[in-house]
Each structure stands twice: as C-alpha cells, then as structure tokens.
Point group: C2
C-alpha cells in the first residue's frame, strides 16, 4: 500500500467551515482535499493500493487526522466540494476511543496528529518513510520502496519545526520532485507517476481496478 500523509498546519479539524468558501474558512483545508483526489482517484476508478492521511492541526478541535483507505473506500467523488462535504461529516463525529475510528467505508478519524499517524503506520507493519522537500534528492533517481512507502507532504506553509523534527527522528528520506515549488496535489501526481512507471517496469500493476 502506498500512503500519503499531508500535514495541514492550519487546516481545520473542526467541521464548522463553509463549503462555499473553503480557502477562507477552513485554514486552507482545500489544499489537503485536492491531495485526496490525486492520491486516490484515476480515470474512472479508485486506486485500491492507496491510503491518504490528512493531519489537521488548525481550529478548536485540533489535532485530528482523517484517514481514507483506498482498499475499502466508496463514494469518493472527484470534485472538491464533495470531498469537503465528506470531510465535514467525518469531523462532526464524536471520537472517544484512541486510534482511528472507522466512520464509513474506508473513512476513519483519530484524535491526534502526526503521532496518531505514526502509531497507525507502526501497527500495519514495516514501512519506509519519505519526506517531500524542495531541493532534496531527485525522486526519479532515488531507490524507492514500492511495497509500503509512506510519503509525508506539507501544505502551502511547509512543515512546522516539530513535524520536521519528528520526521527526521523516524529517518524519513528527503525527496524532491523538481526545480519548481508546486502545489501539494501536483507533488502527489508526480510521485504517483514515478510509482506507476516503476510498477510497469517491474510488471506489477499499481492500479487495481474496482
């Protein structure tokens, strides 16, 4: 499974945002929602070997993390508003237990941020962490774990110092995607393209149709 963890420094963990003006009311949750589209959806289908975590560090309920698991997700529509509506529903749920609580097909929420993600990843077995950073070693030239890579991305604000420190602590390998600083969802598209190409070279189909 290929996992993408998007850390939103101010993205709201509270459902009280407006679908009519996401950028101004959600701490730029829209940046993270676009990563959901790109991480999970392909033409006419869903990537069944993909998972995405949205780490929400803003707003009164922070930190919370939304997890969407492509293996069992249903009804992930491609437009931003639909995904925003989905996020709002998930964030409105009361979460009392520790860890990720399954709320709908493939959709879970945890109280907690990066630490909740790392605990969840550890539970699922071995994985290889990568952190996407401007100016880091080129993804195209890097050796990549095609089985269980986990890609950590910042939002439009980058990473806060404590996230950066934690990622260094777990030994995340820095990777860069190119010379221009592009939006997080474009980074996800470029990473997937590299994975898809390597899968094809290894005769391993990365996209398992529904």
């Amino acid at each position: 499974v290929r996992r993408f963890v998007i850390v939103g420094q101010k993205a709201t963990a509270h459902p009280d945002f407006s679908l009519d003006d996401l950028p101004a009311t959600s701490g730029r949750l829209d940046v993270l929602l676009r990563c959901v589209q790109t991480a999970l959806l392909v033409s006419h289908g869903l990537r069944r070997d993909a998972m995405v975590y949205l780490v929400l560090l803003g707003g009164p309920s922070a930190p919370r993390t939304i997890r969407i698991d492509g293996r069992s997700a249903e009804y992930v529509r491609p437009d931003e508003r639909s995904i925003a509506g989905l996020a709002r529903k998930l964030l409105a749920a009361a979460i009392d237990e520790p860890g990720f609580v399954l709320l709908a097909h493939g959709m879970s929420v945890a109280r907690g941020g990066l630490d909740a993600v790392l605990a969840d990843l550890a539970q699922m077995g071995a994985f290889t962490p990568y952190v996407l950073e401007e100016g880091a070693a080129d993804l195209r030239e890097a050796s990549l774990d095609l089985g269980n890579p986990v890609f950590f991305l910042g939002d439009h604000l980058g990473f806060d110092p404590s996230t950066r420190a934690r990622l260094a602590e777990i030994g995340a390998t820095p990777l860069g995607v190119g010379p221009v600083s592009v939006h997080a969802d474009d980074v996800v598209a470029i990473v997937w393209n590299e994975l898809d190409r390597r899968d094809a070279a290894n005769e391993r189909p990365s996209y398992r149709p529904d």
Copy 2:
C-alpha cells in the same frame, strides 16, 4: 509560452450550472477547471509563461472556448469553486465579435471550439502541437519544443473523432505520460514537471514570479 488546450466533450458552454454540484450540472466542467489550477498555479504564485484554453462543447451555447493567459491574469484563486464562479461570469458575457474577446485581466472567451483555438494559436506565431494520449511515446524520452509547445488534452471522455482528426491534420505529436490513465489535471502536473526539469537543465527559469 506553454499552452494547454483541454477539450471538454460535454462540458457546458452555458453559465447556467450550479456551483454546488458541478459534476452533475456542468457536463463535468469540473474536470477542466482543475486543469486551470494545475496549468497556471504554483506555490504562492502564477506561472506567467502559461496559457490555458478550455474548449466547451456541451450545453446550449456550445461551442465556446475560455482562454486564460498567465501573462496578464489576476485573481486566479486556487479552489475549484472560485474558478467555477469565474468561468460562469465569463460564459455569461455576450460575445458578438469573432475571435477571443477580452473580458477581464487575461481572461477571454470566443464563440467556437477547436477551430477558434487553432486560429488564435496561428495568430500568435509558430507553435508545436502535442496531443496527450494513452500509450503514446513517453514524454520523458521525447524531444520537446520548450519555447511554444501546445498540449492538447481530452477530458474524462477522451477526444471525439472530429477533434482527433483535426489534431492529426495539424500534425500534433502524440505523447504519453505513463502506464496508468490518470485525470487530466494530473497529466498537466506531469507535463509541467517535465518542462520545469528541462528548463532547469537548460538554465532557463520556467516560473517567472509575479
């Protein structure tokens, strides 16, 4: 200038669609709007050497084409709803003259579809047409015109036969981006990544900050 032409087979050319449910009311204009984000926007800025054409072949006013010119565009916000609102305003304008009519900073609309685009391109001088197609020769291995390339993309329905024939007629070179069929906006992200990398290799800055 790098140009992206997205052809929407059923995307509406009429402003009467709902911002609250783009996929169901606009003939999947949302697919094209996401290409605007990716073609024009980078982190904290706008690509000044980019232009995007949305060819709208659906709805009662079809065909119409929206053109957004990165050299002079202003107020391009990154979220889907804002770009949809912008498209709605542009499509509501009465267009009587032939060719592209400038309606706002960098934003124009023409009555007409692919032929209007080709006439506009011809007016602007020499260009090299490419058509993005599944299974075509790999973009990474292709020689590319870095000065004035024009990339033609289909929407979720691909190209209709007459568009395909017209593109063959003008000698558009088929290019593929990888083994998996991804959304049009992800294709744009992958194409830009290749251009950015070649620009860097040529010590030519592709992203000119505002």
